[in-house]
């Protein structure tokens, strides 16, 4: 099966002022895949996420999404190409209710599919349905993460970017969220690009993975391969099992 390419990041360099955060990164995501990007703190994982979204923009290299060059597009236009993001730190709208947060996600289609999509989100995350008229800011961390993913899904994305969905959450909740992602991928063919520090859980879930060190991709392969790779194990997996 010749995998159809959805996102192609080629030789991308991103700078914060004069500091180079990404030093020529190549990443590919095919349609229907779950791809994860793992690496230590400060490796540039989140920067790559943000660069795909155009904030900051890449100074060199190209980002091709669905056959279109989106490297120099402003963020909101990239989002309108159906790249939805659940950003690092979740960034839900704290004063708005859960329901309104989801509504904000559906703004691209002017709420055309809102009712049917919101039902889908509530089936996926029943907790959100219970909390629908509560303020986003009063939710627990896990519920906020569900809301952040739910809000991104409301945009009917072709590609879902998840930045550290496990950040600061209890293992049981992380498991639930990862199961939901898996389900979306299996049942709806949603393409997911995932940044994680929780390398074990991420690689187990993923079709393929990339390892990032100091702004460069140093290793790539299928999730299973990377999980079995001694270097990866030493650096990202066993190190965490003290």
């Amino acid at each position: 099966m010749a995998a159809e390419n959805l996102l192609k990041v080629e030789a991308v360099e991103t700078y914060y002022g004069n500091i180079r955060a990404l030093a020529g990164v190549d990443v590919e995501v095919n349609k229907g895949e779950i791809v994860s990007l793992i690496g230590a703190n400060g490796a540039g994982k989140s920067t790559l996420m943000m660069t795909i979204c155009g904030s900051p923009q890449a100074r060199a290299g190209s980002i091709i999404f669905d056959g279109e060059d989106i490297t120099k597009l402003p963020t909101h236009l990239i989002a309108r190409r159906r790249i939805a993001q659940s950003p690092e730190g979740r960034r839900i709208f704290p004063r708005m209710t859960v329901y309104e947060n989801l509504q904000m996600g559906a703004g691209l289609d002017n709420l055309k599919y809102f009712n049917e999509d919101v039902e889908k989100i509530f089936t996926l995350f029943p907790r959100l349905k219970e909390r629908q008229s509560q303020r986003g800011g009063t939710l627990s961390g896990g519920e906020q993460q569900m809301l952040s993913i739910g809000r991104a899904l409301m945009a009917r994305p072709k590609l879902l970017l998840l930045d550290e969905p496990s950040l600061g959450l209890a293992p049981l909740i992380v498991k639930g969220i990862f199961e939901a992602i898996k389900k979306l991928n299996k049942e709806e063919g949603l393409t997911v690009f995932l940044v994680e520090q929780n390398a074990f859980a991420a690689l187990k879930l993923s079709d393929r993975g990339y390892v990032m060190v100091n702004g460069k991709v140093t290793m790539s392969g299928s999730g299973k391969e990377l999980l079995a790779n001694p270097e990866v194990r030493a650096a990202y997996l066993e190190g965490g099992r003290h």
Partner: protein, 462 residues
């Protein structure tokens, strides 16, 4: 045991005495120079001083006794009530509100509609000038300004300290265009709104990247720039002299309110000449303009642009990642807010008949912003109440001549207006840190509308 909690625990009383004394000492040193010593110029223009120990003693006593009562009795009482409430499990948002509470808006609107005639009935033509003009129109102008600023600050979360600039643009647009080109009020009213909106966009562009404190400083500067231009562009604006003799609004071109004109309103209706009819007419115009502002705000909040404003206030990055164009969102917020400011400004010009840069100082921006914050950012009802309290309050303070009996014949209450005003603001912010109406009404809901209680919000963040 129960008895001691009823009357106040001995420990509490001891603490209250201690804190009361402490507050007295602090008050003594704080007011020693400000109140205890008064400077004045004698006949030779030399600066001399005299002491006012009596007044100082009053200040100190008020501080000490006030603190004693607060710590010893008021706070334990409030705490007990809160505890009892928490135990009984009754939520702050109660379902069975009183009749007045439920129909508050309708009652308020009906009251406003009959207000001019009510005052005519009660205090007569001459007396109602004050009530319709100084209270009614004055307050409604501020309601409209605050509702306009609410779009920028309350909904879009862009802190604007130079809002009075748009008010000035509107006022001068009307004053200049009507006196140079003789255009009518009804044409210039929307036009000043549009001009002010243009200026809103002009201000919006350079500040697109700014937020919070930085934005506040730039908008503050913008307000000052407009004022300085008005002062120094003497050829057009006549500088500090201002523009006088601005045309009155006509009754939609049918009748004029100028005395002596052929189609005068008083003549047409066979009334005795009085300026009160014009004031009543103006009252209804500003009431209609306020209603328009409220209607537009409520409608916009349910539309994509209004939702985008609120989302922008919450989180700009999340906004962009959801495909919202933050540039146009900010600009429309500035433009819409500025437009209402401009319309209010042109109304102000026609009502005063005179505009000068004096009316558009920073203090005005501060008052409007204070109304928005006191009322509860985003809440139209709260802001209207705050406008009544703040503007009406300062007007009432003008007439506190009975205070002379307390403080002696030299006491001029007008001088203390701002002091009392500041004190009132501090007290309100201490007890209602989210403003009069701290809850936010969701614009979307599945089954039932439920106000989102303010108690869940971080203080100082709306």
């Amino acid at each position: 045991m129960t008895a001691s909690t009823e009357t106040g625990h001995p420990n509490v009383l001891a603490k209250a005495v201690r804190e009361g004394l402490f507050a007295g000492v602090i008050a003594f040193f704080m007011f020693l120079l400000f109140v205890g010593i008064e400077t004045y110029q004698d006949i030779n223009n030399a600066l001399v001083w005299r002491t006012r120990w009596g007044l100082l003693a009053i200040f100190v006593a008020v501080a000490a006794v006030g603190r004693f009562l607060t710590v010893g009795f008021i706070k334990p009482h409030v705490d007990r009530r809160k505890l009892a409430k928490a135990k009984s499990g009754v939520l702050e948002i109660s379902e069975n509100k009183s009749f007045f509470h439920r129909h508050f808006l309708k009652i308020a609107l009906v009251f406003l509609l009959v207000y001019p005639f009510l005052s005519l009935l009660i205090v007569g033509k001459q007396g109602s000038l004050k009530y319709v003009d100084n209270f009614g129109i004055q307050i409604l102008i501020y309601v409209m300004l605050a509702w306009g600023l609410n779009i920028v600050v309350g909904l879009a979360g862009l802190l604007d300290l130079g809002y009075v600039a748009f008010y000035a643009v509107g006022a001068y647009s009307y004053a200049l265009l009507s006196s140079y080109f003789g255009l009518s009020f009804w044409l210039l009213l929307p036009m000043s709104g549009i001009l002010a909106a243009l200026w809103g966009i002009i201000l919006g562009f350079p500040v697109l990247r700014l937020r919070g404190d930085y934005l506040a400083i730039v908008t503050l500067a913008f307000g000052e720039i407009i004022r300085l231009v008005l002062i120094n562009w003497t050829d057009v604006t006549k500088g500090t002299f201002g523009i006088s003799g601005i045309a009155k609004a006509s009754f939609f071109g049918i009748w004029s309110f100028d005395t002596g004109s052929a189609n005068s309103f008083v003549k047409a209706w066979g009334l005795s000449a009085s300026s009160v009819y014009y004031k009543i007419f103006l009252f209804y115009i500003i009431l209609a303009l306020c209603m328009l502002t409220a209607y537009v705000t409520i409608r916009l909040r349910r539309m994509p642009i209004g939702r985008a404003w609120e989302a922008l206030r919450e989180d700009e990055i999340a906004c962009r990642s959801l495909g919202i164009n933050t540039v146009t969102t900010k600009l429309t917020a500035f433009a819409t807010g500025a437009m209402f400011g401009g319309v209010a400004g042109s109304f102000f010009a026609t009502r005063q008949g005179f505009v000068s840069p004096e009316s558009f100082v920073f203090l005005e921006s501060a008052v409007i912003l204070a109304i928005v914050v006191l009322g509860g950012m985003g809440s139209l009802t709260g802001i209207a109440i705050a406008a009544v309290v703040m503007v009406g309050g300062t007007e009432v303070l003008r007439e506190m001549s009975f205070l002379k009996a307390v403080f002696g014949p030299d006491f001029t209450p007008e001088l203390y207006r701002m002091l009392l005003f500041g004190l009132a603001m501090i007290i309100v912010m201490l007890f209602k840190p989210r403003g009069f109406v701290g809850s936010r009404e969701p614009t979307a809901f599945l089954k039932e509308r439920r106000a989102v209680s303010g108690s869940f919000t971080k203080e100082g963040h709306g």
